[in-house]
């Protein structure tokens, strides 16, 4: 054997030798069984993966941005390439974001990717939760994972909010100031929360460092931990599965008893999983089949974010300029996913502000609309599996059309959030219609209650009628079959 042949043999065997070396130290063989985990091949089940990959992208792009960002509000003389700020004293945070955006190759692209991934992260979590809600995938035994998912949704919004503030430009600083006012409106603990999260009176020199610390360390760690818990619960409980069309036939499990044994012609035994048996999950093995599907999701998610980042700006701070405590931007609004909270704030009448007698605790409309009601909404979402509680475990997903009251509640909830969001944009609506917000607000207040309740009732009626018709049809068919017999 020539030296080259020996080298070729050695290199061909290198993978096995590395595996053996690792296996001797970490007992990899014992973990190999996880590679075969069954993942049902449902299209809508991929939404959670979109969210997961967005988070990964956020971490990676965030590392790049973190190398150049300066979390400081101290003024520095801007000497970068954006003409209109050259020679001006601007906050260091603002200058560093301009530097990232206009003077570092990839900078604008990576910054935009970070922003769009953040928005896609929140949206995909939202859509994932809607899928889980409408198909009843939160039911026993998956209540804990629904609660974890709700917390992840809240944290994703928190991550986006804290990141929004960091460039310390006029637009973001004003919007972030609304958050500060809400935080400090909380009775008894508001001042402490203001100090803890915003470093005291907003904006102070401690605000940006504090929000930066929360944005790059505390929230990502919390998200990472909750994602790990989410995944561990998923692995332990196995995935939900869509109802099967037919029984599933296959070979008997290794060393186990077949569900319905039948000897095949070649001596093997065949097992049958009845289509209604949800004690068994059927799907693609985690590796290599599901891994390949996940890789496709990963690349297409990246392609979507890359396309958005290439063509559309997000939070173009050079257009807004640095924070100006004396000025007010023409347009003030939070990120789109907090628009409904902003809408509640705008619609709540000022007379809802009151002071509790004897104890003297002041309850402001900011607190009611911006903290209490959103907390209530998130609380209801979190405890929903215990409202729609099932004693027995359920592993098949449900058809939303077969769950009349739950689907009705879901439709009503979605419409409530959407109308509250329209209220958050009442100035834009007024501009579009050519009327003042004073005219629009009472209409939106009525719509906030009437439309969701009306839609919910209508949905319920439609689905109940459909169920009754289906029962009547089945009854007629059974009667006809009985007559034929």
């Amino acid at each position: 054997m020539s030296r080259i042949d020996r080298l070729a043999d050695q290199s061909a065997d290198a993978g096995n030798r590395v595996y053996d070396w690792m296996n001797a130290r970490f007992d990899l063989d014992s973990g190999r069984k996880f590679l075969g985990k069954a993942f049902p091949a449902e299209d809508s089940f991929l939404l959670g993966e979109v969210a997961l990959f967005c988070f990964l992208l956020l971490v990676l792009t965030g590392m790049f941005l973190g190398m150049f960002f300066e979390p400081s509000t101290s003024d520095v003389k801007y000497e970068g390439s954006v003409a209109k700020f050259q020679g001006e004293e601007v906050p260091e945070a603002f200058a560093s974001v301009l530097h990232i955006t206009y003077d570092i190759p990839f900078g604008m692209f990576i910054r935009r990717m970070h922003h769009w991934a953040a928005h896609l992260f929140v949206a995909s979590i939202g859509l994932h939760m809607l899928r889980v809600f409408f198909t009843g995938a939160y039911r026993n035994p998956r209540e804990p994972n629904w609660v974890v998912g709700t917390a992840l949704a809240g944290l994703s919004m928190g991550a986006a909010y804290t990141g929004y503030a960091l460039p310390f430009d006029e637009f973001a600083a004003t919007a972030t100031g609304i958050g500060y006012n809400l935080a400090t409106s909380i009775p008894l603990v508001g001042e402490v929360i203001g100090k803890a999260f915003f470093g005291g009176e907003f904006p102070s020199s401690a605000t940006i460092p504090r929000l930066y610390f929360i944005h790059v360390l505390i929230i990502p760690i919390a998200i990472g931990v909750l994602l790990a818990i989410h995944m561990m619960i998923l692995v332990r409980q196995k995935h939900t599965e869509a109802p099967r069309d037919d029984d599933v036939r296959g070979l008997t499990p290794k060393g186990g008893q077949p569900t319905d044994g039948a000897v095949t012609s070649d001596g093997g035994t065949e097992s049958v999983v009845p289509k209604e048996d949800d004690s068994v999950v059927v799907g693609l093995p985690a590796f290599p089949n599901q891994t390949a599907v996940s890789a496709v999701v990963f690349f297409l998610t990246l392609a979507t974010v890359a396309m958005l980042a290439g063509f559309l700006p997000v939070h173009n701070i050079a257009e807004y300029g640095p924070n100006n405590p004396a000025g007010t931007p023409e347009l003030i609004m939070p990120d789109w996913f907090l628009m409904w909270v902003y809408g509640l704030l705008k619609l709540l009448p000022s007379w809802m502000s009151f002071t509790i007698p004897v104890v003297g605790i002041h309850i402001s409309t900011e607190f009611v609309g911006g903290v209490l009601l959103p907390t209530l909404v998130f609380g209801i979402i979190a405890v929903w599996p215990f409202v729609d509680y099932h004693d027995k475990s359920v592993h098949f997903t449900a058809n939303p059309l077969d769950r009349s009251w739950q689907t009705a509640v879901g439709v009503a909830a979605v419409q409530f959030i959407m109308i509250a969001s329209i209220a958050g944009m009442n100035n834009l609506l007024g501009r579009a219609l050519g009327v003042g917000t004073g005219v629009i607000n009472p209409i939106l207040t009525v719509a906030l209650f009437v439309v969701p309740i009306g839609s919910g009732l209508l949905t319920y009626r439609i689905l109940e009628d459909s169920t009754e018709q289906e029962h009547a049809r089945q009854y007629t068919e059974q009667a006809e079959e009985a007559d034929d017999d």
């Binding site: 190999r32 954006v82 296959g250 499990p253 089949n289 599907v293 496709v296 559309l312 257009e319």
Partner: protein
């Protein structure tokens, strides 16, 4: 689609579309930021197509949801293609039942077993597709790197990165469709 589904979707869309209509009235058009070319040679704002200079958060909300729905649509189409391609044009369209254990060792445990196994077709069109897509991915990666070393134009980065990631996605799809055995396993939940 069932009549009830259409009715409920119409109810949701009846509020969604007005919300999006209002949201799109965010920021009016504005001037492009002027870059002093004596400070940098980069051209991050040089455009292939004219796009807005700034977007209000409300406009961002509409765009990201449209993008998400688009992504979900593409994923669904690709996922279904992958699923159908591995089953198409096979003479051995039954589960392998040779009494032995097919596939990789970890497919089989005391609580897991194979319920469907189809060998990969290894068709010649798969090799052509993978070869073409590999070249495409390399071309886009090269252009992406070249852009970094020259003008660093953001829209070009977007096109090249998107092309690269789409090529890689389709490369994986091709591998899945033509060269990966289709396997389904059943697994007891209570372990």
């Amino acid at each position: 689609m069932r009549r009830e589904t259409v009715a409920i979707l119409l109810l949701v869309v009846a509020v969604l579309l007005p919300m999006w209509y209002v949201a799109l009235h965010g920021e009016p058009p504005s001037e492009q930021v002027e870059i002093d070319q004596s400070v940098t040679e980069m051209r991050p704002l040089q455009e292939i197509v004219d796009t807005p200079e700034k977007l209000a958060p409300s406009q961002v909300g509409v765009i990201v949801w449209v993008a998400l729905f688009g992504l979900v649509g593409v994923l669904t189409a690709v996922h279904r293609f992958m699923d159908s391609a591995v089953r198409a044009n096979r003479s051995d369209d039954t589960t392998v039942t040779d009494g032995g254990q097919v596939g990789l060792p970890w497919f089989w445990t005391d609580d897991r077993w194979v319920v469907e196994y189809r060998d990969a077709s290894d068709a010649i069109e798969g090799i052509v597709a993978m070869g073409g897509l590999t070249i495409l991915a390399i071309v886009f990666a090269t252009l992406f790197t070249g852009e970094y070393l020259t003008l660093a134009r953001t829209q070009y980065f977007g096109v090249y990165a998107m092309g690269m990631f789409v090529s890689l996605a389709l490369l994986t799809v091709s591998y899945y469709a033509w060269f990966l055995p289709h396997v389904e396993v059943a697994e007891r939940r209570g372990h």
